[in-house]
Symmetry: C2
Subunit: 479 residues, 2 copies
């Protein structure tokens, strides 16, 4: 009982200290572990299984659009990194350098990839000669390294896992279409699978990727009102192609530069799942991404027939396509309940001698806490229905939270007041000058999240300088 | 036609120059690409798709035995690497060192993981307290780096992909059982999926893993008669546990050291597939691992109805569970045939106007070259049967080759003569002294491949020194 109490007590309330709550959940739900490597994390089985599901879902969506997977080296020679000016300026300050191989000093330093644009360009320069070689639509699943000063599990760590897609196209139009297509895949995936609603839009020049012509983003809102950039898709135009000499002969036998894109999503999304859906009992996983969707918890499991019945129900649910487990450890039911809630398993199925006698079980929803009595012979139909209901409810709950924490500011006083008192997104008009972005960031620590595709005309003037406005922008403090 | 000719001409005959033949196949089948990073390779879509299938098959087999996937950092602090004496001696000379992060020099050098025993031990020392925490059966899919001087695609490169399983158990017996269990999984996978027969056995002390108590191996024989170590499984006993202080309290509340294992298989197996099955027309993929199992090649595809029929057949085969594609490019059929053969696609389905009229197609087997006429409405039944037949035939062919290239030597003269004249495995008795292994290696460049589980008593004396023999050993020159 002492250990049970500890499990529940040890979580900080999210309203009291959101950052500490996050750290507690990550630890108590056993998503990550500590390591002797500063700034890096161990992703433990419960965390990695979420990543495996993210990979499976995204990879299938990618392949439907013709994406092919490849693997490129983890090292980038310093001279290769330097080929595109904006790109090297953006990344060089935060990379790790390999200087020795075996017992010898290298002639040229190698950086551990922070991203692989330069390597893909190097490959494409060799592989692309003719219009017949286009398009190239490659992706890789790998880890990347960025030497961050302050780190937090999933949100910011020196090494993280991601996928990075890199494509080359004959025309600017085709490249733009691919950029938007991948952004839409990310957005659909977030909403349909992770139950996280997103704002789609374009980054300002200040916030765009180093070397990109345009960066598109999906932005989501965490429970504490801070924004999280959740996936980006970049159109490079022919900038990298010119720097790396990636040319093809078109149908008229003329030399042309290719047009390129890149797009990525990372283990950061596990942090988003925690911060969008979690509560004071712990993690709350949307059923479509949950490694375990239903946990059967036997009550008085030493009584005759209880474990046998639990095993029957487990098999019945597995046949129905539910990812299900039974907790047969010798912990108390109360402890098992707390653990299942902490780990975010969408439904708990309680099954004891009385239930067996009555031919029914209690199904408890993790999202609402609701307890539903279900006849055992209807379980295989009802549980998938309940899981669908949870998925839908979690998306709607997250959307309602996001919408009720999205504010409008039409003048600077209002803007500053809102950002300080009401954490969330602020929609406000902008003149297009970086000076205003800089001032807002300095005064409020808020950044422009994106210029949303769905524009509204909130007023005619910039919320910061009062000059004529060009665009409506989503602003917010961000992770 | 000029290009067609080039495609076929460019392959060196395997009997003329096996090493060059290998390089040609890797390049022409588009498995890897060159990169500016010395000693590293780009794994291209056709190569990576094979690795994805290897991952899928192995991962499912692992998970059936309770394996959980995790991800650990790619960096190992120098002090951590040094904790186990034999281990650091084995690996330190061939690792890459990170000395700078961002603009600053690191206080302690980090090596890029050559293998992750030390990181798993560091994790287990923190995670394991009680017998309730055991066993831990973790695995990770990742890349590792070993600073090799001479490199070849898949067989030996500075960075390669693999899985590494690391387990901790309460008893020595349980650790030994897990070691053998994983070796058996590798062996079954090689035989059943890759159609590569293997010899299971134990490595001699000279050849075992740095830090292991026992290393078990599966050894396969390439077409040129050289051996390839194809997967290893190590029993560490409690050596690492003592070096890292990994202890648990048993049921009697006494402190005990855990017993550990590790086991791995790598992208090297793609090299094995090439060298076991390939021929002078190129790659030959076993159907169970082939990303594309059947390629439909339309003949006179501009004639009315040809492409429509090809699309119908493709859909019919897909419904039947065949991984199928249609080559609709504007290349000539002859060129497409050569390409399909080069890429090792198990069957080709030729479909032209005459075939359509007759309601049948020609199915060409990549393994035997046999052409089989199949009625269109029987295709969905026949093609899976033909694929099963190819899978079986490829395993039997490889086994026959291996067996006919396995020799026995009972004295040293015979041993040296055989190794120089008849490339293959040599079975010979051994006294157990490393001095004899050293002498054999110096005289013949052959190494002890393994002490096979299936022992035979070929004679009473060591083939090298003539002293009483303890074990029969498989010897051979190896990759």
């Amino acid at each position: 009982m002492a250990k049970e109490k500890k499990l529940v007590e040890a979580i900080t309330s999210m309203d009291e200290d959101f950052a500490q709550w996050y750290t507690d959940v990550v630890k108590k739900a056993e998503l990550t572990g500590y390591t002797s490597v500063k700034g890096c994390m161990v992703i433990k089985p419960a965390g990695y299984a979420i990543w495996e599901n993210i990979q499976k879902e995204l990879d299938a969506r990618f392949k439907e659009t013709g994406v092919e997977n490849v693997y490129l080296p983890m090292f980038i020679p310093e001279s290769l990194l330097q080929k595109e000016k904006d790109h090297v300026e953006g990344f060089a300050p935060e990379v790790a350098w390999v200087t020795h191989g075996g017992l010898e000093e290298l002639q040229e330093r190698l950086c551990v990839r922070p991203t692989s644009e330069t390597l893909f360009c190097d490959l494409y320069a060799k592989e692309i000669q003719s219009h017949r070689d286009l398009p190239k639509v490659y992706n890789q699943w790998c880890s990347v390294v960025r030497w961050e000063k302050t780190t937090r599990p999933f949100l910011r760590s020196r090494e993280f896992l991601w996928q990075e897609g890199h494509t080359a196209h004959a025309t600017a139009q085709e490249a733009e279409e691919r950029t938007i297509q991948m952004l839409n895949i990310y957005a659909d995936f977030c909403e349909q699978v992770l139950a996280i609603p997103v704002i789609k839009g374009r980054k300002t020049d200040k916030e765009k990727f180093a070397g990109a012509e345009a960066t598109y983003t999906i932005e989501s809102l965490m429970h504490d009102g801070k924004a999280l950039q959740s996936g980006t898709s970049h159109n490079f135009g022919d900038g990298f192609a010119r720097a790396f000499g990636i040319q093809y002969t078109d149908k008229e036998n003329k030399l042309q530069y290719v047009h390129q894109t890149s797009w990525g999503m990372t283990t950061r999304m596990i942090g988003a799942i925690i911060m969008v859906h979690g509560d004071n009992s712990g993690l709350k996983l949307p059923p479509r991404i949950a490694p375990v969707q239903a946990m059967i918890i036997p009550i008085q499991q030493k009584k005759e027939g209880v474990l046998e019945k639990a095993a029957q129900l487990e098999e019945m649910l597995r046949q129905a396509g539910v990812r299900v487990k039974t907790d047969v450890t010798d912990k108390s039911p109360g402890f098992k309940f707390a653990e299942q809630e902490m780990r975010g398993i969408p439904v708990r199925i309680e099954c004891g001698p009385k239930d067996i006698e009555a031919g029914q079980v209690v199904v408890a929803r993790r999202d609402t806490g609701e307890k539903i009595t279900v006849k055992m012979d209807e379980l295989a139909v009802k549980v998938p229905e309940i899981l669908d209901g949870i998925q839908e409810n979690m998306l709607e709950t997250a959307r309602a939270h996001r919408d009720s924490h999205t504010y409008v500011a039409t003048n600077y006083e209002e803007f500053v007041g809102t950002i300080n008192e009401k954490p969330g997104f602020i929609k406000a008009m902008w003149c297009g000058d970086q000076a205003c972005e800089d001032k807002i960031k300095e005064d409020t620590a808020a950044t422009s999240r994106c210029i949303p595709f769905e524009q509204e005309q909130l007023s005619d003037v910039c919320v910061c300088c009062g000059k004529p406005a060009k665009k409506m922008v989503y602003w917010g403090r961000a992770y």
